[in-house]
Subunit: 371 residues, 2 copies
DNA sequence: GAGGGTGACGCAATCGATTGCACGTATCAT
DNA sequence: ATGATACGTGCAATCGATTGCGTCACCCTC
């Protein structure tokens, strides 16, 4: 029996005898020695895919030894040899944006169930940081990527696709349709919200659109225009304003510009909840009441928007499920690289709260708010 | 010149010529070949710590070649040999709890500045998941851990300490004081909040304490009692109730039990913002007005508590800085393992908003709220 | 009984970087 | 001229697991 080892220590992990001593983890060689086989055989015995290559009894013996030593394969050594890592890269703009943690949890829960995990990086939407992060992750042999940072034009993603990296977009898409993605069905969400407003009696509706470099921004804007047409409502360009970012401040600026331009409206469809909150701020500052004077609808159903004054009506997006679906899709792609790109849309659901009400009629008589 | 390689390919990374082809990253051997030196020499030339061992001109040449090939050291191979990984493990209960993302960002920003990164895992406060996650991270040779899940009694942490793993606790501590930690100065935060209430004129104050298995829960409760004593206020045991979790629901149950028991109070110090929101819910449900009938103070200054009705007065905890400090401390411990455990307290700051006001006087005449 | 097939296992290369050791050469003192 | 010293570099082992290939024993068949 040949061995590369000088010694063998019992009490491999966390033994009380080794107080304040760092204990060496047992290696495959240790297992092989104990079982009286070559480490190649031990490797095959412990790998379900190759177990049939070794005698049943031997395999059992190896397995028992591995068990008793508490052997854990070293993922680093494995990665070095196999160029796989049981991990994927998750690229998000900013963890402190409440949109993304549920997505990350959805992804992690699905990956975790089969022993994979996600390597999370924040890019703050900085392409340089993003490229560096991706490079670093590739160095660590991540097997694929999930991007939540997609812009409509996104050279880095083009590059990854052309290099054949398994890749799934979540929450946002690029202009290309040949990249797998899991997003909310924005058109459906907008349609629901608009139907709600129309049914309440609104006909003069405006839209605070998000940045037009992102799929969510353009899709919601497009769906808004479509909805105006569908309901036969006035749809002049002055009824939409494009906000420069998904922030409260941008929302306030956006609604202010509409008010200052004298646009006549009784309801606002905001591109997301933060823009809606910006509306709240600006409306309150100007003494305009929500929902009495203006109804507001948001998008996302962020935490705590049900506690606002008034509670925000919003199209809830199933972020956790978005993440979970994206993870499942990426895993499928890893197993079957030939699968074609797929686009998955998950349905939003309109959560009606206190920020939407029937409009006051022109003469001020106003229908009462139903409840 | 000996080479292990069969071939050498130019256009190493992301070249337009290799459309749809996975390109091999250049290795140290490639660099060495090109520079006409042994890979050992190339390794030394590229490592700042060993660069002095090689001739200056040779080192420059190697560096230029490495640059031109776009050589990136393979972190996996490096980790295998050195048992270091330039990464640390971050153990948190749940990423979707808004407390933790800022901590994580603080950590990542500090680590990132020196090429380290954090491996984030969620445990949902499940010791089994936690142990599995730690085991998995150790397998990946993380160099240390930051725990945000510390319970007062925490066997896993004891084990890690006894094994000599570099370890820093953030936000929460254990009962042991010989583990490095970075937390908010809860006593100071409570003292500020209590002083604020007393200055407003409150004398009958109650406390919704958090779970007593966590340092934050006990520290804030202890500080509350101390403050009552300091201000000469009534401090019977009936003035505190211990909530089973840091949740809205638990907060509602807690305040309900005080009201039902007929405890007489004009102000509530909640153990954190979620408990405070639970108060809001329950008080509103019973027609008790905040702040007119009861003032409420929270803890943390979570996102959006400034948008509540009324906006919540709360002790802001600098979570980002907590994370950043913890990361710095861990890095120090990695460089100088002999450094003793340190306890760092960061000061909270009281953010006064609309949920606190002078109490109505007993006969109902009530001082007007100052502004 | 020689040839061929099969199952079980070992050998050794390999993944890519790091590092202790030793060798060769240049320099300098004696 | 010889020995000591320092410096620069190469050799090869090493980290731990995986895997193509070869070998050996055994059994079957003609």
């Amino acid at each position: 029996m040949s061995s590369r080892r000088r010694e063998y220590r019992s009490h491999p992990v966390g033994s009380a005898h080794n107080y304040h001593a760092v204990v060496r983890q047992p290696t495959l060689q240790d297992v092989a020695d104990r079982a009286g086989v070559h480490r190649a055989t031990a490797s095959r015995a412990l790998n379900p895919a190759t177990r049939h290559l070794v005698n049943g009894e031997t395999a059992d013996r190896v397995e028992r030894v591995a068990q008793s030593l508490g052997y854990r394969p070293n993922p680093i050594a494995r990665s070095l040899k196999t160029a796989r890592s049981s991990s994927i890269g998750l690229v998000i703009p900013d963890l402190t944006n409440p949109l993304f943690p549920p997505i990350a949890r959805g992804i992690e829960d699905v990956l975790g169930s089969i022993g994979y995990n996600a390597w999370i990086v924040n890019t703050d939407n900085d392409p340089v940081r993003e490229a560096a992060a991706v490079e670093s992750m590739r160095g660590r042999s991540v097997e694929g990527f999930i991007f939540a940072t997609a812009r409509l034009a996104h050279p880095l993603l083009d590059q990854l696709v052309s290099q054949g990296s398994p890749l799934v977009l979540v929450n946002r898409r690029t202009a290309r349709s040949d990249i797998s993605s899991v997003t909310a069905d924005d058109a459906a969400g907008v349609a629901q919200a608009m139907r709600h407003l129309v049914e309440l009696g609104h006909s003069r509706i405006v839209h605070l659109a998000g940045p037009q470099g992102l799929s969510t921004g353009v899709n919601r804007l497009r769906a808004f225009r479509q909805a105006l047409t569908d309901h036969g409502l006035p749809s002049g360009a002055e009824r939409t304003v494009i906000c420069q970012s998904w922030t409260e401040a941008a929302g306030a600026v956006g609604i202010a510009s509409l008010l200052d331009a004298g646009v006549d409206f009784t309801a606002v469809l905001a591109g997301n909840d933060l823009l809606a909150v910006g509306c709240y701020n600006e409306l309150a500052a100007r003494g305009v009441s929500c929902p009495d004077d203006v109804s507001v609808v948001g998008f996302n159903d962020m935490p705590f928007v049900d506690k606002l004054n008034p509670p925000l009506t919003t199209a809830r997006i199933p972020h956790y499920e978005l993440g979970a679906e994206a993870a499942r899709m990426l895993l499928e792609d890893l197993r079957m690289p030939q699968r074609p790109p797929r686009t998955v849309l998950l349905p939003p659901s309109l959560i009606v709260r206190g920020s939407t009400a029937p409009p006051k009629t022109r003469n001020g008589a106003g229908r009462r708010r139903s409840r």
